[in-house]
């Protein structure tokens, strides 16, 4: 009897095993296709939140890569030699390494997220028409901004502006065409936001309203317009934006950070006097800043100078002062300078000087006393942009826009300022 029981028991064990059935679902995360098909409002909001959240990824690589080209910073690292070699021009830029691929991939990941969000919103039966317009307008604005950042690095190598179908990507378009597409995308976003209702959380600005997002959209449109040298359009866009000649320089739109779970810390922050990983002001920043200019506070003196690979600096970049400090997407100080730039190029020089003096005086300098010519004022405008927007990702692009990259310093014989980054290798696949 006993052996019967053992054998029966064994057979039962096998039977039990064979009875397990059913697919094992994804245990760890939601699955995109389900939300696109029929997401709840909460799920759609989660997509919107992550779209914003994603805009912050690998910002450090972006700011470092173009800060190095603009000769605003040095980036010393014990473990990553390419900050002081390829990125300073000693050998060609690699089309398949972190500084090329990571910012590009991060920005397009947000574009994918925006497209996914728009698909989910369009398919949703639970949102009103005006609510949908809010999601769509904001998604288009963010998408345009992400494409602009990608284009800033790629320049005349161009970018893809139509990537809606992941299996059938649009062509890589040239610089002016891409800028046009970005401007159009912002305009579409503006149309959507007009009359929209914002029913989802937004972190780039507090107490969000559709009006505030429209102002954000127009501020970006003003930046794109000056990149396109459409000076009148820039002024029009400024009118719809949060531009305020007398307003707070720092009023604007930000990436925020926290140490909360699932959130990220400010990737562009490094402590003062840090060792190992250092983000330093290029020596010319302190050397060329006017005496008394309070913007020297953005490059604080180190206890000991740092040197690597024949480069040396005694000042830390001190723009972001904690690992939860915000990173500005666009702020009023830039808009004032865009106003000045547009006015100079439209030859409305007195208006431009008013704006430039607003900047100068605020930063503890005397009003502008130089030549009142377009050429002189462009140089002055670029100079104010250099110090006002230090390490915020502008210098290299500004000098490139005015064909002045050759004016940027090369510290070592083999150094060179690149004018663009290569198209990432995976794009040619």
């Amino acid at each position: 009897m006993k052996q019967h029981r053992i054998l029966l028991f064994s057979a039962m064990l096998l039977g039990l095993g064979a009875c397990q059935k059913g697919e094992i679902p994804n245990l760890n995360t939601p699955v995109a296709s389900q939300i696109i098909a029929n997401g709840t409002k909460e799920q759609i909001d989660n997509l919107a939140v992550a779209m914003e959240s994603g805009t912050r990824l690998t910002l450090n690589t972006y700011y470092d890569a173009i800060g190095l080209q603009g000769r605003e910073i040095y980036r010393f690292s014990g473990s990553e030699p390419r900050y002081t070699t390829e990125l300073m021009g000693t050998s060609p830029l690699d089309n398949n390494t972190f500084y090329t691929t990571n910012p590009w991939a991060s920005r397009y990941r947000v574009v994918r997220q925006a497209n996914t969000l728009m698909d989910a919103v369009n398919n949703s039966s639970r949102l009103s028409a005006n609510e949908k317009k809010g999601y769509l307008g904001y998604a288009k604005t963010i998408m345009a901004y992400q494409l602009l950042l990608a284009l800033n690095m790629q320049y005349t190598n161009g970018i893809r502006t139509d990537v809606k179908d992941a299996n059938n990507l649009g062509p890589i378009k040239g610089y002016p065409e891409s800028l046009t597409d970005i401007a159009n995308m912002l305009n579409e976003g503006l149309t959507d936001l007009t009359g929209a209702e914002i029913v989802f959380p937004v972190s780039i600005v507090t107490d969000v309203t559709a009006a505030k997002l429209m102002q954000f959209n127009r501020a970006l449109a003003a930046r794109v317009a000056v990149y396109r040298q459409q000076w009148a359009e820039a002024l029009t866009a400024l009118n719809g934006s949060n531009f305020s000649l007398l307003g707070d320089f720092n009023s604007g739109y930000v990436h925020i950070f926290s140490a909360n779970s699932g959130d990220v810390l400010n990737p562009v922050f490094l402590p003062q006097n840090n060792s190992g990983e250092q983000r330093l002001a290029h020596p010319t920043y302190a050397a060329q800043i006017a005496p008394g200019d309070d913007r020297i506070a953005k490059a604080t003196l180190r206890a000991a100078p740092a040197s690597l690979d024949g480069l040396q600096s005694n000042r830390d970049v001190w723009v972001h002062r904690s690992n939860t400090a915000p990173v500005y997407i666009i702020r009023n100080e830039e808009l004032i300078l865009i106003y000045a730039e547009a006015k100079i190029n439209l030859n409305q020089l007195p208006d431009a000087i008013v704006a430039l003096n607003r900047i100068r005086v605020q930063h503890n300098l005397t009003p502008y006393a130089g030549a009142v010519t377009q050429a002189a004022l462009i140089t002055e405008m670029l100079n104010q942009r250099r110090f006002s927007l230090f390490a915020e990702g502008h210098r290299w692009i500004d000098m490139r826009r005015y064909n002045r990259l050759n004016q940027l310093p090369n510290d070592r014989p083999n150094d060179k300022v690149w004018d663009k980054f290569p198209i990432p290798l995976p794009e040619s696949n």
Partner: protein
Amino acid sequence: MHLSKSFTLLVMLLLLSVASFAQQKVSGLVSDASGNPVPGVTVRLQGSNRGAVTDAQGRYSIDAPNGSTLIFSYTGYKTQQTVINGATLNVTIQEDYANLDEVVITGLATSVKRSNLANAVATISAKQLYGVAPAQTFDAALSGKIPGALITANTGAPGGGISVKMRGVTSIFSNSQPLYVVDGVFISNISVPAGLNLITGAATAGNPQNQDNPSSRVADINPDDIENIEILKGASAAAIYGSKAAAGVILITTKKGTNLGRTLVRLRQDLGFAQARKLLGVRQFTEQTAFDRGGATERDLFIAARDAGKLYDYEDEMYGETGLISNTNVSVNGGTERTGVYFSANRKSEEGIVKNSGYLNNAVRINVDHQLNDRISLGLRASYMNTSADRGLTNNDNNSVTYGVSLATIPQYLELHPDANGVYPVNPSAANPLETRDKMRNNETTNRFITGGEIRATLHTNDRTNTKLIVRGGVDFFNLKTEAIFPRTLQFMRGGLEGASIQGNTNNLNTNLAGVLVNYFQPNNDLSFTTSLGATLETNNLDNILSIATNLIPDQSNVDQAASSQLQQFRQKYRDNGIFIQEEVLLMDAITLAAGVRFDRSTNNGDYKRYFVLPKASASWNLAKMDFWGIQSINSFKLRAAYGQAGNVAPYGAKFLALTASNVGGQPGSFVDTQFGNPDIEQERQTELEAGLDVSFFNGRLSLEATYYNKKIFDLLLRRNVPSSSGFTQQWVNGGDLRNKGVEIGIGAIPVNTKNVRWNAQVNFWKNTSEVTKLTIPPFPMGAFGNTLGNFYIEEGKSATQIIGTLGNNKGVGVLGNSEPDFQLSFYNDVTFLTNFSLRVMLHWKKGGDNINLTQYLSDIFATTYDYDDDKNGNGVKDGVDRMNAAAISDASVRVQDASYVRIREIGLYYNIPIPKNNIISAVNVGISANNWFTWTDYDSYDPETSNFGSNTISTATSRGSNGISTGVEVTPFPASKRAMFHLGVTF
């Protein structure tokens, strides 16, 4: 379901007929050729389950009918069959030099004599595994011992971590590590990262693969408990294991209790020490070279340090410690005629070569075998392991914090020792490694149970046929606690994370269950059939929770003693099941024919209901057993061929497009993953054809085993790079084919066999060549850090392990090397002399195979390389400057270096102390050994065995695991160590 019903029915039917025989008691003495009694010989009554084992005096007794046949078998001796004629039966058994009678497992429940085996199955005995110069962990003990395998220690950190590639790369992105089966239990060999990436940022820039380099969980097993290991290298031998066997199967059998007449108690104590295998040294500065490095400031620092006698060798301070090793083992082996018990307890405690690093392994095991009656036997295997490894902080990082990256930045004149108040000076270029070492903690603690049981029942038996049912089940459960504590006073924590406590908790449960029905049918003496039919089920359930707390209260590490915290969780489940049928035919004890097929499915496949069909077939013909064979000096001459298919399941989650957590402003977010899900993903499929010739000369004094194999992998699982403007960076596809061809030649010899000296030698040679034969996606780089530093490159028509890189001076990109060795050779010698002495040596030669050496590069950048001032090529330029000039023109060829080596893996001398006959102590032996003590290599770093990426680190929702290719990329590793030990063994 249906299968199990029919099982039950069959069981019931067969149980109805139970026969019995007239019995008598037969006893006798078993001795060897020189007349010495042989203990431990298994005596079995042919055609039954009944058996006995000879005791310490070589005596046995068994109930058996007169005229029936007894079979005497013992490892290392030829199996002998003798017909009973009377109550006493004394036999003499012959040594089996070529192991022709060794029984090799060929199915889930069947086995065959080596002389009839159709595959090249390597066997590692307990003596070879652990009896020469014991390694720290089980996985390290395999090094150099598996012909056909490329085994690389990933790290020298305590607790190990190893990559085993059997017959070449079997998968590029999916699992490339073999399946480990301990006494029938499928055990887990995953590597779970400890979340160090938060500190090191290693995977944040150049390569997204995890670089925490955790230990391989197979290391938990106590090697002292292992009786032998069989290695099924590819699909032709392992097809019956189905979708887990693509990278081979390592079958581990632990020791079992035997009836030796009395219970044997063995005590073993090892004492020894470990040191770094090699230290590179540090650059010796002069006033001039200090000036060249950093101008007058540095020169003045150098002069001040030199004058104060404070020039340091920080490498030696970090890596130059001598670690004490102690290993204590007690084992008890005994039993009665029907029950055998083996018990062991082991405590291993080792210090590392870096302060505050070390390894502890406590293990207990009990193995019980019981013969319920003539028809049913039970086996139980239970083991518990508690291991703890303190592994320090090494390898790549992007935050300049690891020991190695820090050391690379430090010239000998920099003061980093703490002052009287215990304050460590700041290293301006990276971290202060002395401070990091003294304050941080990176610990892995495992508590693990591996338990299995087996029931073997003879359902029906007569003189022509018998039918057995074997049911086997097993559980492997472990809890892994990882703790990475970085106090806020650390230089690199100040002003940033302000202290971090990263605590991971992983529970992993593997279960497996198999039932096999085996029918043996012998119509006449020259023909027999073995038919197996079975079903298997394996499940896995993994739950990994990582709690990360930052901004810590001083001196506290609990995750609630902090201002901010993050949580991550990753879960994984799969269920694989299979059904197989196998037929083996043996003709005239000389020809074997076998064929089988397995139907396999897995919940990891795109279509979880679909069965994959995996056939196998083999044939062997031992000509020397034929009547026409007339060559006396050749006593075995076997031709063999085998073919089989196996699969490799898709990685977990490959079929989903997941939404990962990404929050901002206190709101939860769901962010599209960068991995584009592929609902159509399928298994990789492998076919392997193996053919060989085994010859044994002069009664086994000389033997040759030669094997050629051709292993093809179809539908390679590739993580394709997609244009990242799609928003995705990668997608799993079945995108190509891969082929490995190779030869394995083994020669065994007993050149000397006299009364005083016996020399047993074994030489193995093996070579593998891989080629990507088809690629449906564009060629792609992978596995390292971009072309300027050297990178692997998967390209159709080329070797899967080629290394490419930039050639410098805008000459583009070219092939710089290959990580695959030209060949490997191992040479094992066991010399017994003057009766009681035994000298064992294992030599391992790896010829060729390149590494990507980035340790040297990092040191060159900071001008601290030990040979920076040398001029070996005599071009008048310092070597360090030469290499930096190469870097300046993007010449990656200097990074790719030949990692050949010749190594005395293990050497040991043992002596059995003759003791007067007494009733308490039966044997005492002592020994000294050295493990990895002698290495000859031109490779210019710590050790040619290294891997920054580990081997099979799990992929979670937030991190990419590592893959099969990246072995040999070196970034400031934990230096490998060598070991010397004294051994004492006492048997009671």
